[in-house]
């Protein structure tokens, strides 16, 4: 493990999700703002503990759905107006018949927008990440629940380390970015 890179975060490993959630609460109570966790599965209560509030994904879904539905409907109206053809004696703009595709494109728009937003907000895909260099960082384990205090401009590694150590983790690990070659 190279210690030369910029410090990214300090991790503390816990063996149960409950301990992790408690630890998150404790660390946040101490005033650490940039706290996050790494868990192999979604842990109940962690969002609240981290005070996670981000409605961008539902908002994107709403907007995507509206855009999809409107686009779908207008596409059908527009193309029928662009080349008006008589079909089965039905009205040119047959609104009930257009509802199917409007609905489908609403769903498609909503899902695509939500997932795109999820990836964007999470800044994924990201194949290389400093946290992967952390010793023993492993999503395949059931007993690795990492608390992370992320490094920011006025970050004191010792302070963070102490705060973490006080919580009695299984391990404390430094995460450094790899130096640019």
């Amino acid at each position: 493990m190279a210690d030369t890179g910029r410090l990214f975060a300090v991790l503390a490993a816990f063996d149960t999700p409950e301990r992790l959630v408690e630890a998150v609460r404790a660390v946040r109570a101490q005033g650490f703002a940039q706290v996050d966790a790494f868990t192999p599965f979604p842990v109940k209560g962690l969002e609240e503990a981290l005070a996670f509030r981000d409605n961008r994904v539902p908002a994107a879904m709403l907007i995507g759905g509206i855009v999809g539905a409107a686009g779908g409907f207008l596409m059908q109206v527009g193309t029928n107006l662009d080349y008006p053809l008589r079909i089965g004696g039905r009205p040119l703009i047959a609104v009930p018949a257009f509802m199917m595709i409007t609905f489908e494109l609403m769903v498609l728009g909503a899902v695509l927008a939500a997932l795109a937003m999820m990836f964007m907000a999470n800044r994924l895909p990201r194949l290389h990440h400093p946290v992967f260099d952390a010793d023993g960082f492993d999503l395949s384990a059931d007993d690795r629940f990492y608390l992370a205090i992320l490094a920011d401009d006025h970050f004191d590694r010792n302070e963070a380390g102490r705060a973490l150590a006080a919580l009695g983790p299984d391990a404390i690990i430094d995460v450094r970015e790899r130096p640019r070659s």
């Binding site: 790494f38 599965f41 994904v57 193309t79 899902v111 937003m117 990836f119």
Partner: protein
């Protein structure tokens, strides 16, 4: 709890250390040979035209459309199990949803191929899509086929994405679990750098649950639209308002039947007894029974409305009972509903072999139903003079067998290379209790 955690861990190790290579290779060889048949059938089809099938006038749609509906119906079960049960907080779904969703993908792929292959000029299928062309002509948006085109495409995209974002955390775990570099890279690329960050999980859960919420009405809409392919045509035996729910329930039924079969098979082949327990089989049996009985109700409702309407509708109904395609009607009843009745008892529900056989029976029965609905309505619609019978040819059967081969090939590759069970959700469930 530890047993389930162990088992979940084992799921992640399955691809690199596959426990049943022999069984897999035998199955895969069989699937590949059917896939070869598929390719040969398609080559022959493209060389000669749709006349190689038994289709004619009046039965212009034969196997391709019946099989299309059948495959698509099967496909719906994966989304229902995964999305609907997720929303309802049914944790037991976690043992089934991954491969059920994969089944959806592959079944929808098979289904989606059929309408293209069945075209007289399949190389022009893209004319169904709106694009700026030099002819200034657009698709006809009042046609149920255009609705289908959008519905199936949307469904394929949405179910693929739903399945994929669901598998990302497991790919990440498998990446961390793998030893060999090629597996690491394979899983690593698939995982897109997932690192289990809590904020990621939060957004992931928002997206996953919202997609699930919208996927359920999507499933209902897709198969309702498929039913409009029939119900929008003025054909006795088709033009019925009961069709949309009837088709959706039938779809769920056939899908759960195939899920039951796959469950029993995977459980046996991969030794997943700790993850897929008797409870799961029991729940599947209940689902199968419930959707089966609802489908039976659809039969009864359809029968009642046709008889009540009288005229050609009633004639078609009666013809289904005693006409040349009565075998498909009674076959559907027999295969769909008779073995199903065993599932009223728990002790039968938890017998894997029996569940497999009942699933098989329902799968066959639902195929007969699709065939019956299509052929028995078309072969004798309004004018007595335009009566004409349909007889499938070798190429009808070969293409059908070929799509089964395509399905099995894809499914076996999935089983071989990807985590077949949602390990992280099992763990979450196990840890949460």
């Amino acid at each position: 709890m530890n047993a389930r955690l162990n088992a979940a861990d084992r799921v992640l190790r399955l691809p690199p250390r596959f426990p049943a290579p022999r069984a897999w290779w035998i199955c895969f060889g069989f699937a590949l040979s059917l896939l070869g048949l598929f390719l040969a059938s398609v080559a022959w089809l493209f060389g000669h035209g749709p006349g190689i099938w038994g289709n004619n006038i009046p039965v212009g749609w034969g196997f391709p459309i019946a099989n299309y509906i059948w495959w698509l119906g099967i496909g719906h079960a994966g989304t229902l199990i995964s999305a609907m049960l997720l929303l309802m907080g049914q944790g037991w779904r976690n043992s089934l949803n991954r491969f059920a969703e994969a089944m959806t993908l592959f079944a929808v792929t098979c289904a989606g191929l059929y309408p293209i292959l069945h075209l007289g000029r399949p190389w022009l299928f893209y004319w169904m899509a709106p694009y700026f062309n030099t002819m200034n002509v657009w698709p006809q948006f009042k046609s149920p086929l255009t609705w289908d085109f959008f519905a199936v495409l949307t469904y394929l995209i949405v179910s693929t994405l739903f399945w994929y974002i669901g598998i990302i955390p497991d790919l990440a775990a498998a990446r961390d679990r793998a030893r060999k570099m090629r597996w690491k890279i394979f899983f690593g690329l698939g995982a897109l750098g997932w690192r289990g960050q809590a904020t990621h999980w939060a957004r992931w859960q928002q997206a996953y649950r919202l997609t699930a919420a919208i996927a359920v009405p999507l499933v209902v809409s897709v198969h309702s639209e498929i039913s409009l392919l029939f119900a929008a045509g003025p054909v006795p035996g088709w033009v019925s308002t009961v069709f949309p729910p009837y088709f959706v329930l039938g779809a769920a039924f056939s899908g759960f039947a195939v899920v039951s079969m796959l469950t029993v098979w995977l459980r046996w082949m991969l030794g997943l007894h700790t993850l897929v327990t008797l409870r799961h089989l029991n729940m599947l049996g209940c689902l199968l029974l419930a959707t089966g009985m609802m489908t039976a109700y659809g039969y009864a409702a359809e029968m009642f409305t046709a008889a009540y309407a009288g005229g050609k509708e009633a004639e078609t109904l009666f013809d289904r009972f005693v006409g040349p395609y009565a075998w498909s009607y009674w076959g559907a009843i027999l295969f769909n509903f008779v073995p199903l009745q065993l599932l009223w008892w728990r002790r039968w529900r938890v017998r894997p072999i029996l569940l497999f056989l009942i699933g098989l029976s329902a799968t066959i029965g639902m195929w007969m139903e699709r065939y019956m609905l299509l052929v028995s309505s078309l072969y004798r619609d309004w004018l007595e003079s335009s009566t004409g019978t349909f007889h499938p040819t070798f190429w009808d059967w070969s293409l059908f067998a070929g799509t089964i081969g395509l399905f099995l090939t894809l499914f076996l590759l999935f089983v071989r290379f990807l985590p077949v069970i949602s390990a992280f959700e099992v763990r979450e469930e196990a840890v949460d209790g």
